[in-house]
Every structure is written in C-alpha cells, then in structure tokens.
C-alpha cells in the first residue's frame, strides 16, 4: 500500500474541513447539505482505505507496515520526526473511527437538519475525524500529542457547538481544562522519556522499556504521566467530571466523540504504550485499580440519573474503566509472572481494544437512539418519556439490541469483549474481579432502567400528546440499523485473534463457568430493573426514600463538581491564592514602584526649598563651593 494513501486516510478529512471552511461556508452557505456530503465522501474514502490497510496489514510480516517519516524540526543533534505506522492496533482503530464516524455523519444529515450552524458542524466533524485518525496512525509520541490536542480542541468546539447556551459554553471549557490538566502529565512524561532515551518513537520506546534500558523510577513516573493524560481523555477517576457535562453538545457528537472514539483515545494510548506500562508494576497496578474503581464508581452514578444522555455518559466512563481494567489486570499478570511477557503483551492489548471495538458500536448506537428519542420528544429527561416503543419501533429495537450488548448478553458483541476482561481480572487480580462483576449487575440495571422508562409504560410528556410522536427519518434510521448489526456481530469478528488474543467458539464460550456467572449477574440486573420500572412490583419512590443518603450521594455525583469547581478552583485558587497574588501585584510590587516615585517627589518638595530664586544666594553658594574645592585640593594634594 503506497504511503500516500495511508497519509490520505487522515488527510482527507482535513481536506474536507478546509473545503467546507474556505469554500462551502463562505460561498455556498445557501446549500448547507453540500458540506455534509463532502464530509461523508471524505470519511467514506478513508473507510475504504482503512479496510485496504487492514487487508494489507493482515498479510504483512508481524502485522506492521513501515511508513517513511519526515523531519519536523532539526536543531543540532535534536531531530524531531513525524511519521505514521500501520500495525494491527492502528488498523483496528482506523476501522472503528472511520465506520462509526461515517454512520454518525449520515445520521447527522437528518439530526442537524435546519440548524444554523450546519456547515460549521460538519467542518468540525471533519476536523475531528482527521485528528482522530492521525492520532491512531502517529508513530511517535510528539506527533500523537499533536493530534491528541487536536481531538481535544474539536471536542471543545463541538461541546460548545451551541455556544449561545451558557451551559454548553461552560461544559466545553470544563472539558478542555480537565483534559488539559491530564495532558500536563502526558507532556511531562514525553519530556522525561525523551530526556532518558533521546527518542519520541513509540516502537523504540517500547523496546527500550522491555530491555530495561529506561530506569525503574523514570519508567514508573513516565508511565504514570502518560496515564494521567489517558485518564483525562478517557474521563477516568479523578478526572471524570467533564464527560457528563459534555453531553451539552449535539447528540451525534456525543455518539462519535464522547462515546466511541475520542474518549477511547486514552485506552488506545495505554494500549499503544502497553510494554512501557507492563514494565512498571506500580504503573500498571495503578491503571488496573483506577480502571476497576472508575467502572463501578461511574456505574453507581449512572443508576440514578434522569437525563438519558447522562446515564449513557456515566455508562461510557464505566465501560472505559473496564477497558483500563482489562489492560491493567493483564499487565499485573505479566509483572507478577502469571503470564509470559510475550503472550501477555498481545493479550492485554487484545482484551482492552476488543472491548473498545465492540463498545464503539453499541455505545454510539445508544447515543444515536437517545438522539432519535429526543428528536421526537424534544427532551432528554426520561421522566417526560415513556411508551415510545409503539411510536418508534425501529429506535426501540436497535436501542434494545445495543442495551443487551452493553449488558453483555450472549451472543451479542458486548458479551465477548466483556468476557475477556472479566477473565483477565479473575485470573490476575481477583479483588478487582469482584468490583467488575458488581459493575456488570449495575450496568444491566441502569441500561434497562432507561429502556423501561423510555420505551415502556405510558407517555408522560406534558406539552404534546403522544400523537405528535413519530419515528425518525430514514437517513437517521439506516445508520442505526447498520450499527445495530455491528453491535450484534462485532464480537464474532476475529478482532481478538488479530490483535493476538485468545479465540472462543460460538457455543464453547458458554461452557466456561465464568460466562454463566456474568450472565447471571447481568440477568439479575435486568430483572431488578423490570421489577422496579417495568412491572412496578417495587416502588421506585419508596426505594429512593429508603436509601435516601445513598441516592443523594449518587445523584449529587459524590459532590465532585462542587469539590473541584467551587472549593478547589474558585475558593482556593481564583478567589484565594490568585486573588492574593493579584493584591500583591497591585499593592506590593506596583506599590513599591509608585512608592519610589512618590518618595522621589516627597524628597523633592523638601529639597527644592533650597532654591530661593535669589541670584545672590546662588552666587554665595557658588563662591563657598569654589572655596571648598580649592581647600580640598590644597589639603589632599
């Protein structure tokens, strides 16, 4: 495969962005659909090229296509290169990004129809897709960081797409700042690794880490730094607060960026740097613990949210935690010697990325379904929904498939990928396995709570009768159906094996007792949701009252927003330390400057009284002065 075509995979969407912003927006604004078509065409070609790359890679030795790289900056001995590599990991990500992005763009044609910022929307979406593809293809940390910030920017722009809404503007800023806080660690880690090894190249860094050429402490710090970047992007605890707020953006944006691709970039980064992580016990244990904790922590908040998108957002955080858990536990297995290094490296990546792969499809589908629902009802609040099953059969059906997949029901995609993570944690870090299995229960519960509240029962909306409810247009349904198919079959695709993981036969998986354990827990969650929200055997209100403290804890999100924003950011920093420094600047430093000036003036007002204006007094002074000088000359010579 020619290198130009590989570059075209990520350059095409950039090109589309350029065309939309410099040609279509200024000159063809009266035909906004054009920008959608350009975007879809560019991403479609990227998808085709990605599939081509997939075929090439599966035939290549070691599953790697080496591509030429270019010198970005050369100063003395310091040569900073940029370049791309296509390997199995990259190509799987390429497929995920291009296919989900393509579906979302088609869906957006319907969803964003009539919006004043139609062109801008597709321009940003192109920019995002290009950056994300570049991130996946980048072969060195600096180049990766470039796109890393690029996708962060697009996330910022798209969350704040309806910038006239104060909440959207606020959420956009929050997302950027929280991820940037994580990126601080990432950047520091890049510098640290470069200082130690003299290279940004990921492949070289992996080798150096494995051979132990990077010292233990340095390696640990670097890995933790990289993970802080990944945690920011993937909204892992304690940097998780931005993702639920990010739901202020248009729903297709949430589907693409905040469910399927960008938030998964953190997981991708850990997978990409897996040998570095696996070489440091501390770092990989951190990844596993944070991942496992985030999974259950976010799921707990997802249990009580009333906004359908927020439930999905917490679900995303939780599932991303799962992926981290998968990577982390295999890594712990390697460092404790339960699993051979060579096998473990491939297995860890396979476990984590396989879940990323299946999750991308069913979670983006869930978001598109939520968008479709709000398209009909005009709200995201589930308390004002209900009974939509009849009005929106296609939406209901695809949403149900995605939910089952998320809950991990055999034989849907989520089952297969979740199984790998559960098995890894069961084998290598049993403590985390118990967290994970409880999360399975919670996941099944909250997603079926959504189903029963949204699609079951009777319509509870106030302003319009259920007559106004309608199924979404075909242009929105087609991508949903395609994604639904993918949410069914993605688990059966040999992605796991392709990445070096273990394969399961279709029915053979059920012979494993672990599979039954997880299925029972998931089934329990579904049943409980049915009991409360479907059949109403248990009253949700009385349960809420009974567990009021816990409910408050969950629904107030453990007060993390208050802690970060009110207490830490505003109280401590902006109105605390920064205010003190501001006062210091105005009064002490500038005060000193003005003080010197004032002092000079004050001395002047005193000393100027010597200037009597009388000529003869001056003459006398001159005479005395001359006498004094002459006297000095005589005395000292």
């Amino acid at each position: 495969m020619p290198a130009e075509l590989v570059l075209a995979i990520f350059l095409l969407p950039f090109f589309s962005f350029a065309i939309i912003s410099f040609v279509l927006r200024p000159f063809f604004n009266h035909r906004p659909l054009l920008s959608g078509y350009v975007t879809i065409a560019a991403i479609g070609i990227s998808l085709v090229l990605s599939i081509w790359a997939l075929i090439e890679v599966s035939g290549a030795p070691h599953h790697i296509l080496q591509m030429p790289d270019y010198e970005w900056v050369v100063i003395g001995d310091t040569v900073i290169r940029i370049g791309v590599t296509v390997d199995a990991l990259a190509v799987v990500m390429l497929i995920v990004v291009t296919s989900v992005s393509l579906m979302v763009q088609i869906y957006s044609l319907g969803y964003m129809k009539g919006d004043g910022g139609f062109c801008r929307y597709f321009a940003f979406m192109s920019l995002f897709t290009g950056s994300m593809l570049g991130l996946v293809l980048a072969d060195n940390l600096l180049f990766l960081f470039l796109f890393w910030e690029g996708v962060g920017l697009c996330s910022y722009l798209l969350i704040g797409f309806w910038f006239h809404k104060p909440e959207a503007a606020r959420a956009a800023m929050k997302a950027f700042l929280v991820t940037r806080l994580g990126d601080f660690g990432f950047l520091a880690a890049i510098l640290l690794l470069y200082a130690k090894t003299g290279t940004f190249d990921i492949g070289e860094l992996q080798n150096l880490a494995l051979t132990g050429a990077i010292g233990g402490t340095v390696l640990t710090w670097a890995a933790i730094g990289v993970f802080s970047g990944a945690a920011g992007k993937s909204a892992q605890f304690p940097l998780h607060t931005w993702l639920p707020d990010a739901m202020e953006g248009p729903t297709p944006v949430s589907a693409l960026i905040h469910a399927a691709t960008m938030v998964a970039a953190g997981v991708y980064l850990v997978a990409r740097m897996f040998p570095v992580f696996a070489s440091s016990t501390t770092a990989i244990t951190t990844v596993a613990i944070i991942g496992g904790f985030t999974a259950i922590f976010a799921a707990s908040m997802g249990l009580v949210m009333n906004d359908i998108k927020r439930v999905l957002a917490y679900s995303t955080i939780s599932q991303l935690g799962y992926m981290m858990l998968g990577l982390g536990t295999v890594g712990v297995g390697i460092s404790t010697g339960y699993i051979s290094l060579e096998h473990g490296l491939a297995l860890g990546v396979a476990v984590g990325i396989f879940h990323l792969f299946t999750h991308a499809f069913f979670k983006s589908l869930l978001f598109l379904g939520a968008g479709s629902v709000s398209h009909a009802t005009g709200t995201f609040d589930m308390r004002e929904m209900g009974g939509l099953r009849k009005a929106m059969p296609w939406t209901f059906f695809t949403f149900l498939i995605a939910s089952l997949s998320l809950a991990g029901i055999w034989p849907l995609a989520g089952f297969w990928s979740k199984e790998g993570i559960l098995a890894a944690s069961f084998h290598y870090v049993p403590v985390l396995f118990y967290l994970a299995i409880i999360t399975v229960f919670m996941t099944a519960f909250y997603i079926f709570r959504v189903i029963f509240l949204t699609f079951g029962g009777e319509y509870r909306g106030t302003d319009q009768g259920s007559h106004g409810l309608h199924e979404s247009p075909v242009v929105m349904l087609v991508p949903m159906v395609i994604l639904a198919i993918l949410a069914v079959v993605a688990g059966l695709l040999p992605i796991n094996e392709f990445l070096g993981g273990e394969s399961h036969s279709f029915f053979g998986a059920l012979s494993h007792p672990l599979a039954w354990v997880s299925l029972v827990w998931a089934g329990g969650g579904i049943f409980l949701a049915y009991a409360i929200y479907g059949a109403k055997w248990l009253s949700a209100a009385s349960l809420r009252q009974r567990f009021a403290p816990i409910h408050t804890l969950f629904s107030r999100k453990y007060w993390f927003d208050e802690l970060y924003e009110n207490l830490f950011l505003m109280r401590l920093l902006v109105n605390g330390i920064f205010a003190a420094l501001h006062w210091f600047d105005d009064h002490i430093i500038d005060g000193a400057v003005n003080g010197i000036a004032g002092g000079t003036v004050a001395v002047g007002t005193v000393v100027r009284r010597l200037e009597t204006g009388q000529l003869q007094a001056y003459g006398l002074a001159i005479f005395v002065g001359i006498l004094a000088i002459v006297a000095c000359v005589f005395i000292f010579s």
Partner: protein, 101 residues
Amino acid sequence: MGVGLEHFLILSAVLFAIGLYGVLAKKNAVVILMSIEIMLSAVNIAMVAFSRYSQSITGQVFVIFIMVVAAAEAAVGLALIIAIYRRRKTVDAEKFDLMKW
C-alpha cells in the same frame, strides 16, 4: 624695591574681593553689574601681570577679548535691568525671585 608680580596679584585679589562683596551683598542690580565689571577688571589685571611675567603675549590677547565681551555683557545686562525695571518698577535683586521653587 620695584613693583613685582605679587603686587599686581594683591591688587587683583583685593579688587576681586571688593567685586565679589558687591555682587553678593548689594541689592541694587546696577551696583551688582558694576561689581561684576570690577571682578572682570581684577581678572584682567592678573592676566596682564602673568602675561608680562611669563613673557607671553597670550594673556594680553585674552584681556582684549575679555574687555570686548565685558562691554557687550554690560550692554546686555543693563538692557535686561531696564527691561526688568519697566515691568516691575524696581531693580532690587532680592525681589527677583521668579525662579523660586
């Protein structure tokens, strides 16, 4: 005992001191101007004496210069005093304190 260099210098010093006293102590601006002329004369005397003593013509040339300049300066000075008198009806130097702080 002939008249030597030191006699001229003593004369010059005495004249200079008288001039200086006039400049510093007198109130009338015209008197001050005259005192300045006396000081210039004192300097001229010293200069001529030194010129004679060192057998060099340079000092005497300077004296001519000084006299020329002094004449011009006296003219300008008197003109200034007249101008001031016309404005302020006084030539009392102690009343001239426009340059006071």
